[in-house]
Symmetry: C2
Subunit: 108 residues, 2 copies
Amino acid sequence: MDARTQAKYEARARIMKAMAHPTRLFIVDELSRCRERCVCELTEMIGVDMSTVSRHLAMLKNAGIIVDEKRGAQVYYSLRVRCVLDFFECVESVMKCNAKDQQRLLVS
Amino acid sequence: MDARTQAKYEARARIMKAMAHPTRLFIVDELSRCRERCVCELTEMIGVDMSTVSRHLAMLKNAGIIVDEKRGAQVYYSLRVRCVLDFFECVESVMKCNAKDQQRLLVS
DNA sequence: TGGGCATTTGGCTAAACTGGCAAGCACTCC
DNA sequence: GGAGTGCTTGCCAGTTTAGCCAAATGCCCA
């Protein structure tokens, strides 16, 4: 694999990696439902340190998946690209497929 | 976040994480084009140790994204769920969006 | 200006991920 | 049976990631 191709896949992987964490998936899911949330709202929902949530948000923002908007003392985050929701559908269908195979193993 | 919800997002994240690596993205992309490939073909294309490729394949398989089929001394891998290709489209559109913003910053 | 709240950043530790080498396993062909 | 090929697994660094606490920053309001 030449350097250019390598770089292409690395760039893609950076974006995928930004979503490959339970907390960050939750954030994306939540933002898809509620349009926008500030850090403290998400922190309360998730139940970890606010500094941790802030870092997760920074990663998502850095990948270009969400955007932030300061409003007074708070920072509100919202989705930048709706298509990330397609990920969920696909992941769900992979999981359904896995479950079906599991079942098949049990029966046989 | 209660334990059940937590578990749900962890399961999803496991699948996303399986694809969140340049080499594994390349493999998925390649399998989408060529239907199936054995480990040695992929190893040659990628240019890392075969043991490394084998481990990447094991991760994808474990997540339920690809399946393997032994045929003689070789093991052929192929996609199990076509929808993973939607990921690429979306990632591409995130990247395009990022590039556009970058451009805007340069101009202004 | 000063206290207080919301958020980010620095520093640290524990855990997970990667990749190479070498050893082990499975299959093929002689 | 034995050599050779294809693949997987064990082991060992080196690197990255996740989370907490504490400190710094930014904003609002008295």
